[in-house]
Symmetry: none
Subunit: 415 residues, 2 copies
C-alpha cells in the first residue's frame, strides 16, 4: 500500500517555513505499514494543485493533502478539490456547530461569514472533525484511491492524523502488522557495532530488518518486523531481542519509546511518586519548559529558579557570593550548590542545575565558550559533570538540556 | 524563471528526518528572483529519480537536486544522473586532490577506494568544489535547463549554494526584481483581517501578491512584488504600503525584520537600561527560555520563578495561601501578586506573571480550560488581563507567551 503526500502553500516554496508536516505524516503512515512514495510541495495555485492530484492518483492508494484550507483568498485548496471531484461545496451542519462552539467558548468574538464559510465542504467528502480549528479535515474516495485533505496548521493536522485518519485507515484497509523495537546504545561506533553483530544481522528472518541510526555518540538499533500474523511477529521479535541483548549488554542503555526523554522521565517520576525542580542558568528555563510541555507535569515538576544573573543566584537561590567569586559562576561548585538549594527550596526529591557559557561571548567567566556544568541533587547526594558543547549558542543551550535529561535519567534508573 | 527542487533520500520518506534543505534553497533562489515551482522528495530509487528529473525538466529552467551523493551502496544519485544524461563517470583531478587534502588534514585516516571514487563525476558536468566534504557539487546543462546536483549534508549544501550556485546563476541569467514586505499585526484574526482589507487585496496589481501568515494570535501580511523594472516595483510597493497602513493602523506593530518580538523587547530594554523577571505557572518557563535564546539576554533578563505548583507559589513566590484559596490559583489576584513578588524578589523594573489552565484537564481550578491570566508589574503599577486561548495545550502555552510579550511591549512603549 502506497501513499503520496502533497503539501500546499506558497510559504513553503519561498522557503519562509520548513515543511514539517510531511515528515510527521510519513512517520505515522510508515508505522501502520503504508510506505510513502513521494512528497510534493506545490504553490497555492489551482492548475498546479490539480496536476499534483492527477499525478498522485496514478501513483498512490492514499493521497494526503495539507494546507490551503484557511478562510482567506489565498487558500484555494477546498474549491480546487471540489473541482477535481466535479463536486460542489455544501454546508456541513456538524462543522458549522463546531465552528460556532469554538467561537462561543474560546474565541469569544462575533463570527464573520468567512468563518462560517469554513463549514462548506465538497458534498462527496466525509468530514473529519477538527477539534482545534474551523477548517475540517475531509475524506474523499475516487475509484480505488483515498484522498485525505487536512489543514496545514501542524497541531490541527497532527490531531486529525492521530485521532481520525490512522484509525479510519486501519478500519478500512488490511495492513500488515508492523512492530518496531529500538535499542539505544552508547559508546561504540556504527561500523564497529556492525561487525560485532554481523552474524546476528545475517541470520535475521527476512521479514525483520535491522537499521543503524547513529547520532552524536549514540547508535540506535532498530528492528522492524512486518508481516500479517501479529502473534508470530511478536514472538519472533522477542526471540531476536533475546539473541541481540547479550551481544550489546555493555553498550545497551534501554529501549527507545516514541517519547521525548523528558516525557519518559515524567512517566518514571510519576510512577515512583517522586518530584523534581530545576535551577537553570545557561539553559534559561528550557528544561522547565520541556518538562511542562507534557500534560500532567504538575504531578512531578514543582518548578524552576531561572537564575540568569549572579545577583539572582545570590538573592533567590542563596548561593554564597564568596563561592561564586572564588570559583566563578561557571563551575562545578556553583552548579552543585544551585542544585542542592533548588531541591531544598522547592522541597523535591531531585533537582537539576545548569550553569555555563552559551556564548557568543565569554563574559566575565573563567571557563571557555561552550563549557557547561550540570549538577544533580538527590536527598542524599549532589554531583556534577562538565561538558564542552561547542560554540553555537542555540546548540549549546539545547545540548545542555539534553545532557541534563540524560544525567537525570541515569540517576533515576539507579533506584 | 522557474526552479524545481528535488530532494533524494529514503530517510525523508519514512519521516526520519525533516527536509530542511529545500526551504533553504528556495529562500536563496527567491532572493534573486527565481520562483520555485515545486519541491519533490523521492526515494533512493533509480526509476523514481529519473521520473522526477523528466518531470522537473518539463516544468523548470533550473533543477536543483540534493542527496544521495554519499559513498555507500544506497547513494545512487550520481550514477542515475550519468544515465539521465547518457554520460559516463570520469575522475576529476581537482576533486581527487580536494579529497586527498581533506583526508590528510582533517580525517587523518587512510583513504579507501570508496572515498577516492567520490572524485568520479559525469564527463558533461562542471564541478562545484565542496570545501567541506568529498562529494562535489555538479552543474550540468541540457537544452535550456540547468541541473545542479548537491550533497545532502546541510552545511556542505549551504556553502555550495552561497559560494557557487547563486553567483553562477547571476552571471548566467537575467532575473526579475523581487521585493517582499511583511507587516506584523496583532490581535485580529486572519478572517476578520481578511474581510477588513478585502477591497485593498482585490485592487492589487497582478505582479503583487498578498499572503496571510497567521500564527498563534498574530498575523503577518506579506506583500510580494515581482517584475523586471526595479524602480517601478519599489514605487508600487510604497504606494500599496500607504494604502494598506491606514486599514491596519490599530493592529500594525511594525515591519517584520528577522527578529522575534522577544528579541525586539530585549533591544528596547537594553536601550532603556531596564530589567525584567518572570513568574511563570502555565507557561512553565517558556517566556524565560525565549528571552534567553537571544544573545546578551543577561543585560536585561534577571531570571524567572517557574512556580508550577501551588506549593511553589506559596513557598518561593510568597503568594499567600489564603489569597489562592479565596480566588483559586487561576485568577487575576494571584497573577498580580506573582508579578509583584517576582519583581521585588528579583529586583527588576518589570515582571511578567502567567497563571492559567493549559489543559488537557481543568484540575482543581475554578476557570475554564484555556483561561490564562497575565499580569505585568512595574515600579508603580500592577495589572492583569484575562485571555481565553483555546483547548489545545501546546497552543495555549505558546499563545500565552506571545500575549505576555505583547502586553510587555505595550507597557514598555508607554514610557
Amino acid at each position: 500500500m502506497q501513499a503520496e503526500i502533497i503539501t500546499i502553500g506558497d510559504e513553503i516554496l519561498i522557503g519562509q517555513i520548513v515543511d514539517t508536516n510531511s515528515a510527521f505524516i510519513a512517520k505515522q503512515l510508515n508505522k501502520i505499514g503504508v510506505s510513502v512514495y513521494q512528497i510534493t510541495s506545490v504553490q497555492d495555485e489551482k492548475k498546479h494543485i490539480l496536476k499534483a492530484l492527477y499525478e498522485a492518483e496514478t501513483n498512490a492508494d492514499i493521497v494526503i493533502l495539507t494546507g490551503g484550507l484557511g478562510p482567506t483568498k489565498d487558500d484555494i485548496t477546498k474549491t480546487t478539490i471540489a473541482k477535481y471531484f466535479n463536486d460542489t461545496l455544501i454546508e456541513d451542519v456538524s462543522v458549522r456547530k463546531n465552528i460556532e462552539h469554538l467561537w462561543e467558548v474560546y474565541i469569544k468574538k462575533p463570527i464573520t461569514q468567512v468563518n462560517l464559510d469554513q463549514a462548506l465542504v465538497p458534498s462527496k467528502a466525509e468530514v473529519l472533525m477538527n477539534k482545534y480549528g474551523s477548517a475540517p479535515g475531509m475524506w474523499i474516495e475516487k475509484n480505488k484511491t483515498v484522498f485525505i485533505v487536512l489543514p496545514g496548521v501542524p497541531y490541527e493536522m497532527k490531531a486529525l492524523i492521530d485521532d481520525e485518519v490512522i484509525l479510519k485507515l486501519r478500519r478500512q484497509f488490511q495492513f500488515p502488522y508492523i512492530l518496531h523495537k529500538t535499542f539505544l546504545t552508547y559508546g561504540l561506533g556504527e561500523s564497529t557495532l556492525a561487525s560485532r553483530i554481523e552474524t546476528f544481522e545475517d541470520e535475521l528472518p527476512d521479514f525483520i530488518k535491522l537499521a543503524y541510526l547513529p547520532s552524536l555518540g549514540r547508535v540506535r538499533l532498530r528492528l522492524s518486523a512486518k508481516a500479517n500474523d501479529k502473534a508470530m511477529v511478536e514472538a519472533e521479535m522477542d526471540k531476536q531481542t533475546q539473541l541481540l541483548l547479550p551481544l550489546i549488554h555493555d553498550i545497551f542503555v534501554g529501549y527507545e519509546e516514541d517519547l521525548s526523554i523528558e516525557a519518559v522521565i515524567g512517566k518514571q517520576l510519576t510512577q515512583l511518586g517522586k518530584t523534581i525542580a530545576t535551577a537553570e542558568s545557561c539553559t534559561g528555563g528550557l528544561i522547565a519548559e520541556r518538562f511542562t510541555a507534557n500534560a500532567g507535569a504538575s504531578k512531578y515538576f514543582k518548578g524552576s529558579i531561572v537564575s540568569y544573573t549572579k545577583e539572582t543566584k545570590i538573592n533567590v537561590l542563596k548561593v554564597s557570593e564568596d563561592l561564586i567569586n572564588s570559583h566563578s559562576v561557571v563551575s562545578a561548585e556553583v552548579a552543585e550548590v544551585m542544585a542542592h538549594n533548588a531541591r531544598t527550596l522547592l522541597n523535591t526529591d531531585y533537582a537539576i542545575a545548569t550553569t555555563g557559557n552559551a556564548g557568543p561571548t565569554k563574559d566575565d567567566t573563567a571557563e571557555d565558550l561552550g563549557i557547561v556544568y550540570i549538577a544533580i541533587a538527590t536527598k542524599d547526594s549532589v554531583y556534577s559533570e562538565k561538558f564542552s558543547l561547542g560554540n553555537h549558542r542555540v546548540k549549546v543551550i539545547n545540548k545542555a538540556a539534553n545532557k541534563a535529561f540524560e544525567m537525570l535519567q541515569k540517576e533515576i534508573l539507579k533506584k
